[in-house]
Amino acid sequence: MTAALSPVRKSILPQNGDSWDSIAQRELPGTAETDAVAMLQSWNLHVFMRAAGGVGRLRSDNPILPSDVIFVEPPRA
């Protein structure tokens, strides 16, 4: 017997080599890429701010870690 789960904010775990661009293309295909990247970054400040803030910085061009949770929609009301 498996009980159903309530819907929660949709997220993904990165694939190897993922960047904002690749996630935008895969997860938000109907949105212009620059807009999609901007949306992803605003929904994932825990990752985006890592590069901007310096603390926890990984690579200047790609702050996404292989273990990160990446939200692909805004917070639910």
Binding site: A3, G53, L65, P75
Partner: protein, 565 residues
Amino acid sequence: MYDLVIRNGRVVDGSGMPAFNADIAVQDGRITRIGRVAEAGRREIDATAKVVAPGFIDPHTHFDAQLLWDGYAKPALSHGVTTVVAGNCSLSLAPLKAEHRMKLVGMFNQIEEMPLKAFKEGVVWDWESFPEYLARIQKGLAINVGQLVGHSVLRLWVMGEAAMERTANAQEISAMQQLLRECLDAGAIGLSTSYVDMDETLKPVPSRYADAGEVDALASVLSDYGRVLQIVPEFYDPDLTIARLDQLAELSIKYAIPTTFSPLFVSADNIEAVERVMARVDEQFARGARVWPQVQTRPIDISFSFAVPSLLFIRLPGWYNVMRFGTQDEIIEAFSNPESRAKLVAEASSQMALWSFLRLRHVASEANQKYVGKTLAEIGEMRGVSALDAMIDLSVEEKLDAHFIAESMGHNQDEQVGSLLRHPRVHIGASDGGAHILSFSTYGDTGYLFGHFVRDRGLLTLEESVKKVTSDTAAIWGIPDRGLLQKGLVADIVVFDPAAINRGAEVYVQDVPGDGSRYIRDAHGVDTVIVGGGIAWSAAEGYTSDARGAIVPPALTVPAERIAA
């Protein structure tokens, strides 16, 4: 004649069933009789008006280093804790190659706030493999230890420096699986990983470079042994916490393993968020997953001085960088130079409510004694400056030996915390024993549970609280033969006065190797602590030489050639 008889106690046996009056006899380290015991014991304890319970089990500690110089995990044992789980949050001291020792010390220093000098002066590095480390701590062990394998350490062993740069390839994952098997064979209680921690250079710890496939592969090994996966999620955000617990739940169901995440705090500003997390926990348990949130009993207090880095400043990069990387002179210069001071003040000024609320707890100079015990708001008023400036000025005047405390910062809503602690799918834990030694005392959480939540507030019953920190913990972690008072089980027992048990005041002591200091709390109301049938501590005798601590669970097969003589 029995080895030990405990007479006339009120037995709370850890099952959650009502307390009852009985004697307990112990022979050869095990409980041999519960009832009326006519025969005498070589040692007898009069437990009249006292509770006799299974020894408490603390599932979230970082005693890995302390156990190398203190097999009692002082003062945890004196609080009635007879078993600790070490190696949480992706960090264990084994398996560890010699060339990675200082890297790991740096991580322990950064994440768990453990002093570098203690490692340098308190640790003889004579192990590399996991069995060697267990053999090392087993000498003189008075408390039982469940030892997790740290995921960051596994990666370091297999990948070297690349562990801090990239995902693992198939060969490396296979090597990590094999290494984990060797650790589990030797008696590891599970695997720990972290999604939030940073190393001493403020880069993510190695476990954060692992992709989901790597964690899945390691969980498959845990499945072969039925062992636990512990994680630290992004606990500051409920959506992230829920995403992580969903990830854990999938692994738990796929591999039929228990999982646990810590910490989960509840404060006035996140009650709804915690309700959402707990609703998800309930749903995942209903699916058949085991995703145990760990909740600590004590409110959050944080002490600090600018002599050592404090995680209280982690969200103020300018301050944290100065604390983390500056020498004493450089920190004093940063506070004294008008330009750098102005930058720091500007960065911290948005949190003036926090600085005002801080209290000065210790200074060395006579001139500033008059401020001890006052808030920075009060001190600022006396000096005609802001609370923030008062903190900086005092630190400079005291050459950084001014100690401040932020008391009861969160996790302090009794009704909400009590409700969580009582929840059947909440695991009481997250003490962090042995870590953060200059930020707060991690000892006395069980005294606070029984003194505050059970006796003073009546938010939990004695029986359910004992069950929570004994048989529940043993069941979650697969610790055999302990956690209950039952005939045939190992005699890990605590005798305490339910009218007096509590945690003492937080005190500053200098008992860490390398002239180090820490905050601790003494135990109140604990009478006797028995480990493996031997009295390890009593209020009358203090710590004894009867050290019968064990590694739990016991090793399956221990390759003899890997164990140090």
